[in-house]
Symmetry: C2
Subunit: 394 residues, 2 copies
């Protein structure tokens, strides 16, 4: 009599949890140092000193300033103005405060955006592999996920996306740099997608929205901002989080930016406000909104991830593991040396290496390694990977 | 093509906003001091020094402790253990960490709880007057709100609740101390309700859940904890927020406690976890979870509200206004001296006093005054109330 969908969702023993249990048992028997946990994308780069200073200053500000008080639902006006400027600098747009809606992280932004644009019976295209919550938020918005496989090199397969569009297509979720593959979509694919969707929207007589999830925006390894549909395709809703760039994942602070050229702009913003209200969000955490205002140019030590990536990608390919080209984010997507990636991840876990099977991301045959960990752990895991390799290649 | 329900919800020009606009125009013309804003329940009692110290200590803790990192979805285990003990002290229960789920405030707790227990077609009883989000969360959970009018003195009308129960009744939302009426439900009514619901559940062959919203738990004026169904009725889900007791409303920190004797306890907790996931919640803000652990016995200056209440209730009744007995929370529910409370609130706003018409709470004929404001503002408003009174009674 409880809601059975919610019960299934909460009770589901995900492969991640099963792997984590093996790790816990191993740690209990052989000690913590015998477990290398690469299963969770919990960033270990330090919180920047400027952020800590801004938080400390906000906390010691006079009570009258109400730093812990309610903000308006969309967020503090001056913070949204500052973010709009930052967005314009990055994407070459002309966004204003009225296009920015502060959220409890990008996850909330995605859940809210999908709820705002979808009606019952709509379809949402997801590019596999994808973060599993995309499908959950789509279903929670009464719509149907339509997975489309990525290209061989984990970028977009524009033809496949075109073939998946139907009368019911309402949105497509993009995520570049990608979790779990590390792919960064090239600019020409973004342009081709924009052309495809503009054409399809015209033919269908309704807008197809691009919802772009960009928490890894700062994490590319060619020093360039990743190409984005924001500023390229009018009907784009951008979801961002400071979880990675400022190492604040537990604080749930991010924003939605709607394209200033989106169709029915005021209505789109109002629908986002309505969806946030319906999902129980009152405002994004007040202290962190205020601390951000002075910290938008600040980033954590991004080299931390670049060096980790070099270390683990170099070591694993040298050992003979095949990996998707890791151009961004902090994940390495390893081709499973046996067909069943869950079996591979179980063997790895029994040796102390915790990975997540690609099945969790609708992409069997691969395993995700999150290298956002202490470098020492990464380095110490390599001899263990060697032993794991020997199970397959020797 | 946007979701029209979300659009309506976001675009809705609520009476609160209209009143607020009149206030803004008045402030622009006559200055800020000419406006007495009693329209929002934004607590102005100070954030306790212990809370500020705990926040400062957490921020300056070593990076390795991951104070800003992800917590598990239900929240930090040690924090949940401490809260379970606090809950047991207050309610005489035997809750453990596994009964506590940290949330982004009580609003998120309510949205999650309703989503967890409701299926399409279910009915949820709301006691009018009620906080309007209860109906929004009920509808978002595919269920139908069934308002039941409170008793003459704003406590429960048990017979009316009994008459409203149907085969489809899944839950009832309680809120005592009440927003907007200030009513506190007496213990004998809680017992009578528990007996009624136990009996009805047995006859119907399914559980009826009580979802109790208790952010004003510490705000009673007889020095006693308000009677609660938690610990009295097995199938109770408690939603709490530290917004009022610690003056942290913008930080969105609270919890759900499920009764340790709830039916299908593990499943109920799992459904709550699933619902939190579906609504886009990853975890409650990490810093505030950790700061709470040492601050559970801490409260803001509750006398601040008691004195405000004495001042404004005394003054308004002396002027001839009729008010609901204000036994808790920080609201005074004033009987409108003309039939149309919106018209009364418009007249009040034109004089600079911002109130919210009871219509917003499904209770026409009344107006809500939030007295959680600086005492000086409260005191200065009284001569203005006198002028307002003169429009009606002289």
């Amino acid at each position: 009599m409880l809601n059975q969908d919610m019960l299934r969702l909460g009770a589901h023993q995900s492969a991640i949890r099963k792997i984590s249990e093996i790790g816990k048992r191993r740690a209990a028997t052989y000690g913590k140092d015998s477990v290398f946990d690469f299963s969770i994308g919990d960033p270990q780069a330090p919180v920047p000193a400027d952020v800590k200073a801004a938080l400390a200053a906000a906390i010691s500000s006079p009570d009258k300033e109400g730093v812990h008080g309610y903000t308006s639902e969309p967020g503090v006006e001056s913070v949204r103005r500052a973010i709009a400027q930052d967005v314009n600098r990055i994407y070459g747009t002309a966004a204003q405060a009225k296009h920015i809606y502060m959220t409890c992280g990008a996850a909330a932004g995605l859940a809210i955006s999908l709820k705002a644009v979808c009606n019952a019976g709509d379809e949402v295209i997801l590019i596999a592999p994808y973060f599993p919550e995309y499908a959950i938020y789509t279903i929670a918005a009464d719509a149907t996920p339509k997975p489309v496989r990525c290209a061989q090199d984990f970028t977009l397969d524009i033809a496949a996306i075109g073939a998946a569009i139907t009368q019911n297509t309402k949105a497509i979720v993009l995520n570049s740099p990608n979790n779990p593959s590390g792919a960064v979509y090239p600019a020409q694919q973004i342009s081709a997608l924009a052309a495809l969707l503009s054409d399809a929207s015209r033919k269908l007589g309704h807008h197809i929205y691009v919802i772009t999830d960009e928490p890894y925006r700062e994490l590319t390894y060619d020093g360039k901002m990743p190409p984005s549909p924001f500023g390229v395709y009018d009907d784009t809703i951008l979801c961002y989080s400071f979880s990675k760039s400022l190492s604040l994942p537990g604080e749930r602070i991010g924003y939605i930016a709607i394209s200033p050229t989106i169709s029915d702009g005021d209505d789109a913003y109002a629908a986002i406000d309505g969806a946030a209200r319906a999902l129980g969000y009152i405002c994004a955490p007040s202290l962190f909104q205020r601390a951000l205002e002075s910290c938008l140019p600040v980033k954590t030590d991004l080299d931390f991830y670049a060096e980790n990536r070099k270390l683990i990608y170099g070591a694993l390919t040298a050992l003979g593991f095949e990996c998707a080209p890791p151009n961004g984010a902090f994940y390495l997507f390893i081709k499973s040396p046996e067909q069943n990636a869950e079996a591979f991840c179980t063997r790895a876990a029994e040796k102390g290496i915790l990975l997540v099977p690609g099945d969790e991301f609708d992409c069997p045959g691969y395993a995700r390694l999150a290298y956002c960990v202490d470098r020492e752990i990464l380095a110490k895991s390599i001899p263990v990977f060697e032993k794991l390799r020997d199970l397959y290649f020797n």
